[in-house]
């Protein structure tokens, strides 16, 4: 078969699949979100990593800032 034709066919199949897949993903995501928000609403949203052991980088940075703040206004 003419390679250009093959390419066109591949483009149609490819973009078709990409759009079909992402359309399905949009629909199922919307459905999923609706179901989750109805049946499993979590009032507080713990940030990912909240269960991590030990202080995170951000926390350490916060500590550093706190110390800096304290020292800045110290005697």
């Amino acid at each position: 078969m003419n390679p250009i034709l093959q390419g066109v066919e591949l483009m149609l199949a490819g973009m078709g699949t990409v759009f079909a897949f992402l359309t399905l993903l949009v629909l199922s995501t919307l459905l999923m979100s609706r179901l989750v928000l109805r049946f499993a609403p979590d009032a507080v949203v713990p940030p990912p990593g909240a269960d991590a052991h030990g202080p995170t980088e951000d926390e350490v940075a916060a500590i550093a800032a706190a110390v800096a703040h304290h020292r800045g206004r110290g005697p």
Binding site: P3, I4, Q6, G7, V8, L10, M11, A13, G14, M15, T17, V18, F19, A20, F21, L22, T23, L24, L25, V26, S28, T29, L30, M32, S33, V36, L37, A40, P41, D42, V45, P46, P48, G49, A50, D51, A52, H53
Partner: protein, 377 residues
Amino acid sequence: MERLSDLWLASGLYQMSWGQAVMIAVCLGLLYLAVARRFEPLLLVTIGFGGILSNLPGAEIATGNGLLHLTYVVGIETGAFPLIIFMGVGAMTDFGPMLANPKTLFLGAAAQFGIFATLLGALGLSALGWFDFSLQQAAAIGIIGGADGPTAIYVAGKLAPELLGAIAVAAYSYMALVPLIQPPIMRALTTARERAIEMRQLRTVSRVERIVFPLLLVLLVGLMLPAAAPLLGMFCFGNLMRECGVVERLSDTTRNALINIVTIFLGLAVGSKLAADAFLVPSTLGILVLGMAAFAVGTATGVLMAKLMNLLTREPINPLIGAAGVSAVPMAARVANRVGQEANPHNYLLMHAMGPNVAGVIGSAVAAGVLILLAGE
């Protein structure tokens, strides 16, 4: 005396070809861009240095039992390295903005047109007799338009390993060049008023949604297009580890020690494909030109899709965020934000652009699956 002559015959000075000297200069150029201009340094430093080592004649690092060649066989021929990197990327990815506004997934779909247009372009140039790309090779070149390093390396490793060096260099270089490539196209296709559109603030996404989404995605891809399941499966696995909150130590190692180790060896292994005899061929030039076109077309179709959606839906979308649909995470999202602020200083598009940005990762992985399935063999 004989020893001296042995040493001279074994020296690089004696054995070096012009091509190798040129490739070393090219690799020094890549290192310069990586270090002085911060062009995708994680990959261009490792690829560039691997390329230098691979062009030292007589060192035999990138052939036979040399470390770089063994790394290539173990990590890239098997697909392991790009898949592990993809797992690490998943462990770094926040799907929140996309979940808050799933419509932006369409932007990530539209921008994949760059992949297929480039594929057609490669076949067209071959029909004109300028190059001689097979369907497999054309598909591997097209994937540069996915603007996603591991996906490009994975597909090239499957469909056209002989072009992997050029494809990886093009993909990472153009990802670094996104701030130069995209803005003119974005401005040309939008009015100042469109660029000034402010978008509604995104809703909060619940923890359960974040946990369920990667499972939904992997199941959908398994049902629809299993050829994309290795890539998207590892991506979803990384993301689930990140979001589920109960394996933080695994998630942390995945996005730090593990992805760093694999990045180093992936870069060196890709560098082993920059040996002069494989890289200094006319097709490399074609790949570089076509790769640039892939980014440009993907940017354009992403923006145009956003404009089309504005015609069809009520809630306004700033068309600039369509450009982020190519992926090139997070560079393309930052570019959308910056161009938006030029038109309207109160416009904060970054979060809105992250949706199409990660959608572009999914979109190009799906495209990769189609290419492997239909162009493979």
